[in-house]
């Protein structure tokens, strides 16, 4: 099934919660959705017979900071092993309060991916069973991959800059 068809199917089911469908050159077609409805949409994508997205290929955090916007985001790359089609789902979040429901209870693979997005971008995945830092030390301050991140001068008494 093509991304366009999936988008229409989603729109029929969820209406307002599906914000936009984007088709650009050299980029996979993607659908932007409302964060509040994300879990229901993901369950629908997984359980519907002609969609059957049983595999979360990738979950990544994004910082969209630029002159025009100040947003964070999360991108979900889905794949169906049985039907051999793929789909990209995006949510856009507020930098001050970046909250999105977890999809850990939809695809187990999301557990560590969400911890990584939390570690690097500070995205809060609500109802995640174990939302702690995964790469940096537990007592690390700040979210390193945010574009406004400042390198610390010192970590536990060790000088950090060169």
């Amino acid at each position: 099934m093509q991304a366009k068809d999936i988008y229409e199917k989603l729109q029929k089911e969820f209406g307002e919660a599906i914000i936009s469908f984007t088709q650009e050159d050299n980029v996979e077609d993607f659908v932007t959705v409302e964060p509040a409805k994300l879990r229901d949409i993901c369950l629908f994508l997984r359980d519907e017979e002609d969609l059957d997205f049983d595999y979360l290929a990738c979950l990544s955090g994004v910082d969209y900071k630029s002159k025009q916007s100040d947003d964070l985001g999360v991108v979900y790359h889905l794949y169906s092993v049985a039907l051999k089609h793929r789909f990209v789902l995006k949510v856009v979040l507020n930098r001050e309060n970046p909250k999105v429901p977890t999809v850990e209870n939809v695809w187990k693979a999301a557990n560590w991916h969400e911890r990584e997005a939390y570690d690097m971008y500070g995205v809060i995945f609500e109802d995640h069973p174990n939302l702690i830092r995964i790469l940096t030390p537990y007592d690390w301050e700040g979210y390193p991959l945010r574009k406004d991140y400042k390198e610390p001068d010192e970590y536990n008494g060790i000088k950090v800059p060169y």
């Binding site: 940096t136 030390p137 390193p144 991140y149 390198e151 610390p152 970590y155 536990n156 060790i158 000088k159 950090v160 800059p161 060169y162």
Partner: protein
């Protein structure tokens, strides 16, 4: 060779071997360095190549030890992240004296390619432990690594065990002498101060 002759024919020379105890001890120490087996990043892959049959690291008398308590020296092979730095320090502290550190590759020497934008990388392992030998390269070839090992052996061989002060350079001795004079002066001031108080 004289030493070996006497060992081969012990009775002809009366079974006595003459030598310097320090040289004997240092010879033994330098020819059997056991190292803490501790790989951190891609340098560890190169280090595995040095361990394999082509380069045969064990011919230096180096045996890998899994425990820091049995190791004479530590090879820091790779990028030391800040998270790992605490562990590296703890492992170093567990090693018995005398202990040595061989820093392998650009990352362990000075942060390597992460020197500017690596918020998570320790910019040189010498910020947390004293390093004896630096091996440059990214990663170093096994030949470079073996050269570093020879340098470490040389260092251990020439190390003073007895009469350390006599073998130190004139400058170092002068520095120690200065320091002793300074300490003596402080002690004198301290005593004077307290004597005045007593009166």
């Amino acid at each position: 060779m004289g030493l070996l002759d006497r060992l081969d024919k012990p009775f002809e020379s009366g079974g006595i071997v003459l030598g310097v105890a320090e040289e004997l001890l240092n010879w033994g120490r330098s020819k059997s360095d056991w190292y803490l087996h501790f790989g951190l990043a891609c340098c560890a892959i190169e280090f595995m190549a040095a361990n394999a049959s082509h380069f045969d690291f064990m011919r230096f008398g180096c045996i890998p030890r899994a425990s820091p308590r049995q190791a004479d020296f530590m090879i820091v092979s790779g990028t030391v992240t800040l998270k790992m730095a605490e562990r590296v320090k703890r492992l170093y502290d567990q090693m018995p004296e005398p202990k040595y550190v061989l820093s392998m590759g650009s990352c362990a020497n000075a942060g390597g390619p992460y020197w500017k934008h690596g918020y998570h990388v320790l910019k040189g392992v010498d910020r947390i432990l004293p390093v004896d030998v630096y091996v440059p390269g990214c990663p170093p070839r096994p030949e470079a690594f073996l050269e570093g090992m020879v340098k470490l052996q040389e260092m251990i061989k020439n190390q003073a065990i007895f009469n350390k002060r006599k073998k130190m350079s004139a400058e170092d001795n002068a520095a120690i002498e200065d320091r002793m004079i300074q300490i003596e002066r402080f002690r004198q001031q301290f005593d004077d101060y307290h004597n005045q108080e007593d009166k």
